[in-house]
Assembly symmetry: C2
Homo-oligomer: 237 residues x 2
Amino acid sequence: MQKYTGQKRVLIAVDCIVFGFDGQHIKLLLVKRSFEPNKGKWSLMGGFIEADETPNDAANRVLELRTGLKDVYLEQLQVFGDPNRDPVERTISIAYFALIDIHRYENQLNDDAHAEWFLLNEAPSLIFDHNEMVRLAKKQLRYKAALHPILFNLLPDRFTIPQLQALYEGIYQTEFDDRNFSRKVLSTGLLIKLPEKDKQTSKKGAFYYRLNKEEYLENFESFLNFVPNPDKLLSDN
Amino acid sequence: MQKYTGQKRVLIAVDCIVFGFDGQHIKLLLVKRSFEPNKGKWSLMGGFIEADETPNDAANRVLELRTGLKDVYLEQLQVFGDPNRDPVERTISIAYFALIDIHRYENQLNDDAHAEWFLLNEAPSLIFDHNEMVRLAKKQLRYKAALHPILFNLLPDRFTIPQLQALYEGIYQTEFDDRNFSRKVLSTGLLIKLPEKDKQTSKKGAFYYRLNKEEYLENFESFLNFVPNPDKLLSDN
DNA sequence: ACAAAAGTGTTGTTCGTACACCCATGA
DNA sequence: TCATGGGTGTACGAACAACACTTTTGT
């Protein structure tokens, strides 16, 4: 099966940067590494690619294995291929970032996966180049969310506009004008108003909405502008 | 040196989608494959990654080897990892797209590299999944050029605004209003006016400009808007 | 003088922001 | 009835597209 001669073959891994949102803060899902080197240290969830898998298949498999979740929003981020990134043996890693509804995850029997949510800003130091992967994923998340409606993947099926706004504000570490935000969001036609209200956070209550899946898919690549002055908000950290 | 047990190791390649602009049309640089399988067929320029290289190093090396050019604009596109993409042996390819000043290349002694420029729309069918790579690269080029000033990398050091406009029109297969285009471009502060004029294409002559490198680097990540209605122009083909 | 392309000026419209104000409801 | 957050209306300003018009120069 090895027919190109004189070339070195290497291991391929996938690593997933998994983001969640608890209603207040952006979180990052990490696991305790179960084998050497660095056994017991925190890392991204990852795994080696199998013989008959595409990289995307592998990322989905790893994610399902660890969280029980299928059909998660998953996007290829970048390849990390420094020859010395893994001290054991050269391993090239394809990094993915994933957006999941944290509530769906909590209901899964995640048992002994040793996975844990961390506040994005309070995550521990990770093995290898995983810190760099997280940094890049944060950047890409901000970039992409400024242009495309990906953040809905972090919310439950029903959500209110103030919840959506809190999410955007968490991502960009800023506050937006409530009144303009709701009008902007509604004007896209991406939301369908539901009859019920959420009265948890206010006396008046805020209507629930759900995503218009057709519009979402159709307009996914269009540019939108929920985020004012995105230029100034795309910095690191 | 193989210490993770029970995992399969595979070949890693890089493939470069190289774009150029001849003043009229967008072109694609292809090479005749020099070894089996598919020897003699057209393909992207690529090569296997070496033991001590990062993927970026490998892409730069391949590009220099084939074109003689260093310091080329190069961006990681996506990993192509279908298990059967290469019929000989599993090979995972990291695709890069490159933008080069076609005139710099023509002056190089490209000798027996068997490389040739094709009009983007008249390129021959390529081996493996290279057609798919080109399709994706075109899409990414349009996407990114709508937001960031990458197309300057396709032009010589000195260029006129009508030339720049022709480039944008070539990329998006549309025509823009000349008057609005030049004002928009100049308002970014990215260009420095030179004293000479190009009188090739008109009696009045158009001033040459060069890129303000500092501004370019500083504002590279900012969004710009040379392209009206980008939403409608990002389709395939 | 004329043609032809480069580039400036002007105008109406659209879009975004800021902010005053009204609405619904639990306490 | 008051406090609180949800949501609408309005008004100003910046940005943009459309297009009339001037400028330059080779023939």
